[in-house]
């Protein structure tokens, strides 16, 4: 370790520092400006330090929309998170063995990642529009009252929106599970089986505890990908907006630092989530180390 660093190290370390500045600079500037004085504008200099814009945000002057969009996004992200973990683990287990169609499923998953989001969003919107027409025709043909009177569209955050988010989170989930199981030593499971454990017992008491830390990773990934999703959401949420959509709509009319306050608040929330997660993971690992 005492070997002297070559000159290239210092050059690259400087580049890395610049890169960090590039990443953090803008974020810090809106963090600072969200505490802008009540008279202040969108840019420096600060005209004082206040929490004026946070208060305005909290009171929600004329933008109840943000609050409901935030709640909707949060619940949606939770649902996406649970489904992503469950479905990815199951698929990950399936891919450890041979099954017909495995290659096709893998390529579909990768394709889902690289097909432009606007195309996926458009496709799902079209599919649901055709579905709407079919449902309405069905309602008219059979004379079912509530379809004729009350049915508007099957498009919504928890139907088409949920599906659109899953097409984005599941490929990542699957790839992470590949990475996990590629490094997984099956000897532990064999031992469990030799001792007479059922497949479920083997999974529950051997496999699951071993992959649990990575599952938390998948969960966080799923939550944040959904929480921040915008491109695939754009056409499929029906009449209801998610938080990023609401934010994007606001960017066309940025006039005061309230949107910075919103940015600071949502960032703070996300960072809190990450900290809680990492604490959980390290607690779990410590608990294991103690038991082990």
């Amino acid at each position: 370790m005492t070997e002297r660093r070559p000159r290239s190290f210092y050059v690259l370390a400087f580049v890395f520092a610049l890169f960090l500045m590039f990443l953090y600079g803008p974020m810090i500037s809106i963090l600072v400006l969200s505490f802008q004085g009540p008279e202040g504008g969108l840019v420096f200099p600060m005209t004082g330090v206040s929490t004026h814009w946070f208060q305005r945000l909290w009171e929600g002057g004329g933008q109840v929309e943000i609050g409901s969009a935030l709640r909707r996004s949060f619940v949606l992200a939770l649902v996406v998170m649970v489904l992503t973990v469950t479905i990815s683990v199951l698929a990950g287990l399936a891919f450890r063995r041979q099954f017909r169609g495995a290659t096709v499923l893998l390529y579909v998953a990768i394709a889902s990642l690289i097909v432009p989001s606007i195309v996926v969003s458009l496709g799902i919107a079209l599919e649901f529009r055709l579905l709407d027409d079919a449902i309405k025709d069905f309602g008219a043909a059979t004379g079912i009252g509530w379809i004729q009177n009350d049915f508007v569209s099957a498009l919504g955050p928890f139907t088409s929106g949920l599906g659109a988010h899953l097409t984005w989170t599941l490929p990542f989930g699957l790839l992470i599970m590949f990475a996990v199981f590629n490094r997984f030593d099956p000897a532990y499971e064999e031992a469990a089986r030799d001792l007479g454990a059922t497949p479920w017992q083997t999974f529950r008491h051997v496999t699951l505890p071993m992959i649990a830390p990575f599952l938390i990773g998948v969960a966080v990934f799923g939550f944040t990908l959904s929480w921040d999703e915008l491109a695939r959401s754009s056409q499929v949420m029906g009449s209801q907006n998610t938080l990023p959509m609401q934010l994007a709509a606001k960017t066309t009319t940025v006039t005061d630092p309230e949107i910075y306050a919103l940015g600071t608040a949502t960032t703070g929330g996300s960072i809190l989530l990450v900290l809680v997660t990492f604490t959980l993971i390290s607690l779990m690992q410590r608990g294991r180390a103690k038991r082990g």
Binding site: F99, G101, V108, I114, L170, L174, F178, G292
Partner: protein
Amino acid sequence: MTDATDTAAEVRPARTSARRSGTGRAGAALAPYLQAAPMALVFLIFFVLPLAATIVVSFWQYTQYSIEPALTAQNYGDVFYGCLANLPSLCTTFLTYLSTLKFCLIVWATTLTIGFTIAYFLAFHVRTLKVQVICFLLCTIPFWTSIVIRMISWIPLLGRNGLVNQTLISMGVIDTPLEGLLYSDFAVILALTHLYTLFMVVPIFNSLMRVDRSLIEAARDAGASGAQILRHVIVPLARPGILIGSIFVVTVVMGDFLTIGIMGGQQIASVGKVIQTQMQFLQFPLAAANAVILLAAVLAGVWALLKLVDIRKEL
């Protein structure tokens, strides 16, 4: 890791073991299908069928209010209207694709250059795993913010009265503020680089960490210079990571309409934005035709790259 065996030891040889041997074989053969079914179903309903619907609808007709089943190439004709007749002057569609392609190439070049440099630094110069993890965490924290917030956070820096202009003026470099910093090609490229460089760093880092360090020593012993080692040893071995990162960045930029929209002040055309606008005007078949063409363009590029690397093996 020893705890797993302990846990297994606690599992009592269950009564079910006898029952298991009866259904075991058929169940084991069926299991992977049942396990893969939920994912297959999600992709079928929300990915494969929607793409099929897009292709079908791209051959339909539309009125102001509705879309009608038909089999017409009219939408494709509309997309490429005047493209051949007016050559050599380019039609709107070609110009839009050209502009999108320009962003693709520039952003690919910037993210690859920065991404490779950062990955190289993290893989070869940072010596302990702990420091590597800390560096990565430092890089990822800004990604816990909303994409939209990360874009508007350039306003206080690049705006007409922003920090960059203020600094340049106070330093006496310029007299009047530069106008083209925000809402311009430059702003789009900057924001895209800002958003997606990390997606280049991670796969390249992953590849570099697998490079056998003795190969580099062997090259050095054989008299290769630093540049030669980089050119002939490290870059070829990092190719899978470079390809994965490149595929991600190129496809994201090809379909982008948000960054180009917000950072371009809604003034710069992109294929994704065209599709979005047409959807707002309920011209679904036209939007579908554009989507199919975009999809073909993206897949053609990616297919060639995918041929070169087996993603599953790289993880």
